[in-house]
Amino acid sequence: MNWLDYVVLITTMAGIAAYGVWRTRGRRDLNTYLKGRRDTPWLVIGLSVMATQASAITFISTPGQGYESGLGFVQNYFGAPFALILIAAVFLPIYQRLNVYTAYEFLGKRFDPKTRLLGAGLFLLQRGIGAGITIYAPAIVLSTVMGWRLDLTIVCSGFLVIAYTVAGGSEAVSLTQKYQFAVILAGMVTALCVLLTKLPAGLTFTDALTLAGGFHKLKAVDFSVNVRERYTFWSGLLGGFFLALSYFGTDQSQVQRYISGSSVRESRLGLMFNAVCKIPMQFLILFLGALLFVFYQFEQPPLFFNQAAWKQAAAKTGGEHLRSLETGFAEAFAGKREHLQNWLDARHAGNPAVEAAARAAALAAHDRSEAIRAEAKKAMATVKSSDADYVFITFILRHLPHGIIGLLISVFFAATLSSKAGELNALGSTTIVDFYRHVIKRDGDDAHYVIASKCFTIFWGLVAIAFALFANMTENLIQASNIVGSIFYGVVLGLFLVAFFLKRVGGTAVFWASVTAQILVFVLYFNLSISYLWYNIIGCVACVLFSLVLQAILGASRPSPNPVT
């Protein structure tokens, strides 16, 4: 990065945050602080929901996912449109009618205080961990590549988001997310356009697709029925449906974004905006990764994308092995490139037999270079974070012009800040509404609770920063956050489904059913090797079934004094 890049980065980030604080100055009552002014139009809600979900992990890690494994990850989102329809039709009207601050307040009205605290507690635990990942993930990649100090990167981005979230509350979050998402969109479209111009002259778009497909990067939909396969149409539709239903329907970081709508109509349209845009957005980000793969078939990629760690290791004693791997990789790349050219020439000449033979030779050469890469990864096994997370940022720093680099780094920070702000706002709200006001101090006035909300928001921001400072990541980042979510979301969703649809189940039965189901999910996670998406279904179904069984044992429940559904 040069001075131009830093100007773009600092101006964009600080400008948006300062604007958010300025626009929301003087907000004093708790209702406005937690829910905004209830005049948010559907497009801002839609962008806010999208920005809260799409953190920097999405934009740093997902292209790397596309580069390494192809488009299959898009199936993860197949269930989302159906989940969002169900939320718009059933969950949202109930939240709006009850005028709740948090989703867990609804559980208290439907069941009892202990169930409310359980739901809120599970959310705080899961989202508290998630908030740490959200801030750690981009920080480790950026600090490694830029040479910034990791602790300073974490602390600076953490404190910036704490500042404007605490100052302006929910309204500041929505306002800043609108502009941050505009930055994200501009940056990603720019990256895609520049990447297309960087492909070799003479390589048509169809050629690029043929190459990507030949190396299995375009297998977007897998209809096989295999529970061990991480991403299939069925795991994405079913498991993804439950994951999305729980995340968008019961996670306060999302609920808070859409209950701020001026009406049910505006909130619903905001959710439908996401239902329509979610799949194409994820596809485009993964497709960027697949195109990066094609680019790196003609431009030699680094053997190990985390070059800072690689150079450090190569300079140490024993580094000769790494340097010999680099030499072998360069030779394998040169050989593969020759076969690729033969493949394309045969394709243009319309010679299928020669094309098939050249393709087979290119694939064999690719396997040889991948074997060298695997050896390199094994040698670098002690490095935190997956090498795939450095693919996109390496491309940005080496191949994009200055100014555009600043814009793309702004994308990563904008995504970090936007999702972090939504999470902190939700963590603070849940703590104040479901714990502090409900259990500790019931008779405070608005001014007291606003100050307490700000204190709790700061507290959770500091917890996230502390977690990030001491975290140790081994899984690819985008998958790590989905795995953590899948472990908890199923049970929380089960809680809400019982609340909405099983009137005869009371608080005691659902409380103990949830605890048992959560323990079951933990046990299964550490003992089975199935796609993590299935734990959403397992947790949800277990919670519902256990609730029914326990209620049958306990006998008929007393009807709630205030029926809410």
Binding site: F78, L84, A89, L218, M272, I279
Partner: protein, 51 residues
């Protein structure tokens, strides 16, 4: 501070969509479902053609 209370004791009426040509929410949900089918179809076609 008052605990949150329902905005209205009775059920709120289902609101009009405000979207041209799609007056009911069911229609909007069908459009969403249709876009899902479109994208899955396109992705399946991409998979079939190039994998």
């Amino acid at each position: 501070m008052k605990p949150s209370e329902p905005r209205d004791a009775t059920r709120l009426p289902d609101e009009a969509t405000g979207v041209p040509y799609l007056r009911s929410w069911r229609g909007i949900y069908f459009v969403v479902f249709g876009s899902f089918l479109l994208w899955v179809g396109l992705l399946a076609l991409l998979t079939r053609m190039f994998s």
